[in-house]
Amino acid sequence: MSAPARGIETVELPEMPSLSRLYVGAAREAAKKLVGKGKGRATLPAARHHVTGVLPDLVKMTEYQALLSETKLDIAPAGYLHALSFPAAMSVMGRDDFPLPLLGMVHLRNHVEYRKPVLYRDLLDVTAWAEGLIGHRAGTQVDVVTEVRHAGSDDVVWRGVSTYLAKGVFLPSVDKPRVAEPREEFRAPLPTALWRLGSETGREYAAVSGDFNPIHLSSISARALGMRRSIAHGMYTASRALAEVGAQKGDAFAWDVKFEAPVFLPARVCLNIGDSTDAHGAWVHSAFVGWSPTSGRRHFVGSVERL
């Protein structure tokens, strides 16, 4: 891997950390927070977490492909690589010197560049760190960057940037909340697809992604964290939209999604995908948007673009 900037420590993890242990740690920390008053630190850890020799799990990948209606090819779906590398990202956010509470963070945006195909039998190196701590009108936001390389190679084949918001957390010396961006008015287009999401959607995605955040598992566990019902994983909706963009996206693409109103389960979600092509009719870009047919609120909006 390329050498990080001076002053940045690289932490070698012996293996992918266990997400369930990270969630337990987060819950313990959340309990402490009820007594104390947050961590108050206003800087991100100057560290990159590095795991070498990570191998996709073919059984999990196959289950992922089945759940997201991806064709079961040998190439790992972009969303599966997010799930595979997610524990490394979580371990950064679970550090004692990470300034924001891990539980209850809201996923605002996700950007992935999938530059070269990764096969299920490829040995991978994963690096994750946090950057871009800035104020948000509703709290503080941070970018968690994850890079995937073929083992021993310098070339990044997959790069994900997940932007999270710690709601209601305002850190000293982090710039003041910006003026609220004017809300775009959303007028639903005609749908091109309809999803019928059962209450098991969160549990099913948790099983294939390993993301057992309690807000996705059941209405009881979600209520414990202040949600009225369980909500679908943002990455489930984004990954399903990506799958439905289809084979035209080819082997190298950028995939961007902005999450808005949460999808409370069970739910019906309308989807519109619009393709654009170049002068020769070759695909260059698809825009997608998901919304609720009942409330008309937008759940997510994004795009997939040829790289």
């Binding site: 697809a193 019928r196 995908i273 619009g274």
Partner: protein, 433 residues
């Protein structure tokens, strides 16, 4: 081989179409196809005849019916030495069997053929859930008791619920009606226009029954002598009272009702095709020539075109190849999956910009004269047992063409188009004999 000669329609036979869970609720696809075939055999004296080949199919097909058409042959009074194969192209199945077999006749590979189709929405195959299916397959693979127990332990209570087939498009999750509701809005088709088309379908079908048109096209079955969906006494007022059933999320732009959409239907149809020699040597009638056909498909998944718009392209290409225009067509048989489908097709063919940009024409393809459209009724009145619709249309049109004979010194000509799931469409041209 390689002699291109004519393929002709000798005649057809179908059983009356029945609304689902009605008269044919206890009849399987095999039962109905055999019944329609037996009627054809009786009508044209084909007992013990070895037909060149049979092709038929069903859209909703049980896996045990892997050889549905061959089984129908074995259950009929045709020679058991008649070969057969199954075709499945969603609702275009019936028309595709006619075209494929006609090509074999034209090439001299066979002398006679029977095309057909059948569908039952009542006796639909029910499958187990994916969870149960995977567990059972794993159980089948398991060798040790421990592996077997592990497989069984994976079955969850919700897995036990059986799954009935739906009409949802696999890639969009939208039902066919929901897809058409979007297309209907895109082409600005009104509720009134759809109800008028539905009314015309019922009136035309009722009149055709009244004048005995179907006497040699339909064999009674299970107590039915006419299609049970036919409402001879329906009216625009009655149709206007029906609630919308598709596209409800479109609010006041929803226009599709149970009256201007086809119901789920059970039924079967067959068509006897032959070379001229074969028909003449047996003193059989020749109703029409199967001139040509064309299949098309649209990229509907992200809405570039509506799901059921492929016939618009198939018809344009077919007429272009034959050097024909709408002026040269005396009968238009446009399958009424929904009234909105037919009206969206008509609107597209009248749209100059669409015809220029999408069909590659100089201008609009043209206007279909409504007096020539579905003159003996179509699917809105008769019902639509998916794979059986093509055979119904081909046999009825061939007879209509034969009755008409010549128009302006040339044989009367008919155009058929059928839309199908998956963005498919098939068109054909027949000429009177």
């Amino acid at each position: 081989m390689s002699t291109v000669r004519k393929a002709v329609v000798v005649g057809g036979n179908r059983i009356p179409f029945a609304r689902s869970n009605g008269a044919y609720a206890m009849s399987s696809n095999l039962d109905m196809l055999t019944a329609a075939l037996d009627g054809l055999v009786a009508r044209y004296g084909l007992q013990d005849e070895r037909i060149g080949e049979l092709a038929a199919g069903a859209v909703l097909k049980h896996s045990r019916d892997f050889n549905l058409t061959r089984e129908a042959v074995l259950g009929s009074s045709l020679s058991p030495e008649t070969p057969a194969y199954d075709v499945q192209q969603a609702c275009a199945t019936g028309l595709e069997t006619v075209l494929g077999l006609s090509d074999k006749i034209k090439l001299g590979r066979i002398e006679s053929a029977i095309a057909g189709g059948v569908d039952s929405a009542s006796d639909a195959p029910i499958v187990v859930s994916e969870g149960l299916r995977h567990a059972l397959l794993e159980l089948n693979r398991a060798k040790t008791l421990q592996q077997k127990l592990k497989a069984v332990s994976k079955i969850r209570p919700k897995d036990v619920t059986p799954v009935a087939p739906g009409t949802n498009e696999p890639r969009t999750g939208l039902s066919m009606g929901e897809h058409q509701a979007l297309t209907t809005v895109q082409w600005n088709v009104t509720r009134e226009a759809q109800d008028e088309l539905a009314l015309a379908s019922h009136r035309n079908l009722a009149e055709a029954y009244e004048r005995g048109f179907f006497d040699d096209l339909v064999t009674p079955y299970r107590g039915l002598t006419r299609d049970s969906n036919l409402r001879a006494d329906t009216s625009l007022e009655k149709l206007a009272k029906l609630k919308t059933v598709f596209g409800r999320q479109l609010g006041d732009r929803a226009t599709m009702t149970a009256g201007n959409s086809t119901p789920l239907t059970d039924g079967a149809s067959t068509v006897l095709l032959a070379s001229e020699d074969w028909a003449q040597s047996r003193d059989l009638p020749i109703l029409a020539d199967v001139v040509d056909g064309e299949a098309a498909a649209v990229d509907f998944v992200h809405g570039k075109d509506g799901l059921l718009m492929a016939p618009v392209f198939a018809v344009a290409r077919l007429l272009g190849r034959l050097g024909l225009t709408f002026e040269d067509i005396d009968y238009f048989e446009i399958h009424e999956a929904f009234a909105g489908t037919v009206l969206s097709h008509l609107a597209a063919w009248e749209d100059e910009e669409f015809c220029r940009e999408r069909l590659g024409l100089d201008g609009a393809l043209g206007k279909v004269d409504r007096a020539k459209l579905n003159v003996n009724g179509s699917s809105l009145a008769a019902g639509h047992p998916f794979a059986a619709t093509g055979g119904r249309i081909v046999a009825s049109l061939a007879k209509q063409l034969h009755e008409r004979g010549e128009v302006d010194g040339r044989p009367a000509r008919g155009l058929i188009s059928v839309c199908a799931a998956g963005g498919l469409g098939v068109a054909a041209v027949l000429e009177a004999r």
